[in-house]
Amino acid sequence: MNSDILKNKLNVFVPTHLVHSTSDSPLVENWMIIECIRSFHYYLGLQDVKFTIFMDVSHKRKNLQGFNAYKTFLLSTIEVFKGEGINVCLATKCGESMRENYEIHLQSCTTEYVLFLEHDWKLKKKIDTELILDEMDKHRNINYLKLTNQGMPLTQKLYNDIGTNQNWNWMMEEIKSDVFKIHLSRISFISGNPHIQRVEFFKDYLVPKLSKLIPLNKHLKGEQWEKDLKSLATMYMDSFRKCNDHITNHQWPLTSDGNFGNGCIHCQKSILAQHLNWGVYLYGKIGMEAIIDHLGTWCRKS
């Protein structure tokens, strides 16, 4: 794809914050963000696509010295990226949580798609970004496309077992038809894992809905962005259902054999409807290996 076309179609949102291993001093020289940006730039073939780093400014209050040192590190890293031909900048206006930063970013976003990329992920292999975006152009029902950090379950039985209360997703079904030129699976929920999202859907629909349900001032700081969205999704599911019980109060899994297939029909319908109406998909199929690595399992937020 022509570099200008790609740049005008996609941009990358990179939220970051000071990280600590235990209670030690913060990791100012955050190697994860360097590996993260480099790997996604290279393996996605992003050319001039812009990465915008957003710092969580709540850390300014907790550790001003650490925050300033981290900012200095980021600015010098951006210069290194420039030398490598990677278009990275630091946002001038930043908020106090990932969600606030994300909403600030969306307001000024002019591209049709955003790659949502927390600072501690690494892409492991090449992906055809052009084909993905072409498919999203063609199939406007895809609003969210998640990259997976778990090898896709190898058997249908394992695949079906996704539908338990312990799993983030309540649905994971491979699309067998050849309507899409990329491998896709149906899933239930949006998460903070690296993903490509359709800006229009998030900006015009999800963010206003979320602001009504959980206003930013009531939003719990930290890693709660996806949990807020999950609350919104389950509220939406409830509006479909007539079994008069909140879906999470059901005995999970919804059937004795861990398969939704024979479960409460009201719940099954609501799960499918929510997926189809929100357009939430996973990039992958049964047997596919993980394509991203989580680099930040060792650390905690300060």
């Binding site: 509006s239 297939g261 099954q268 319908k269 799960i271 109406n277």
Partner: protein
């Protein structure tokens, strides 16, 4: 697999803010315990929200459209649907032009009610006639769905 266990019926109109949106909610309310799930989609979206007065009139039928978000028809939904119930000839033309191989799934909703095929749109206005037309259309839509027999 949820996808295989649930039978999807799609209601198709133009803007997905009036006729098909009402049908989706009414069908899901009426057949809530069945293995049928209704969805609604549009061929040419032009509003982001359902008109406030349409919302009010739908509430008289205990149908709540305030939170409804219009969505365009897509190939994935066409494939998943066992039936695509349309409102007027423009929708048949749309299906013919875009998804001719799935035309066998297409049926006029009004066929369930009488021999007249079309259920027309109502143009937005502030007139009293608008309210009456909306109410009449809702009655026609609900009567058509009431006549549907599902397994």
């Amino acid at each position: 697999m949820i996808e295989q266990d649930i039978n999807i019926i799609s209601f198709l109109c133009t803007g997905n803010v009036f006729r098909s949106a009402f049908c989706e909610k009414y069908f899901n309310f009426k057949f809530s315990g069945s293995r049928y799930l209704a969805l609604s989609r549009g061929t040419n979206l032009f509003y982001n929200l359902v008109d406030d007065r349409v919302v009010q009139i739908a509430e008289n039928h205990k149908i709540f459209l305030k939170e409804h978000r219009p969505i365009s028809i897509s190939e994935d939904i066409v494939i998943l649907s066992s039936k695509i119930l349309i409102m007027d000839n423009s929708h048949k033309q749309y299906m013919l032009e875009n998804y001719p191989q799935y035309l066998y799934k297409v049926q006029y909703l009004r066929e369930f009610y009488d021999d007249t095929l079309e259920i027309g749109d109502v143009k937005r206005s502030n007139s009293k006639a608008f309210d009456e037309n909306v109410a009449n259309t809702f009655t026609l839509l609900s009567n058509s769905i009431d006549n549907m027999i599902i397994e």
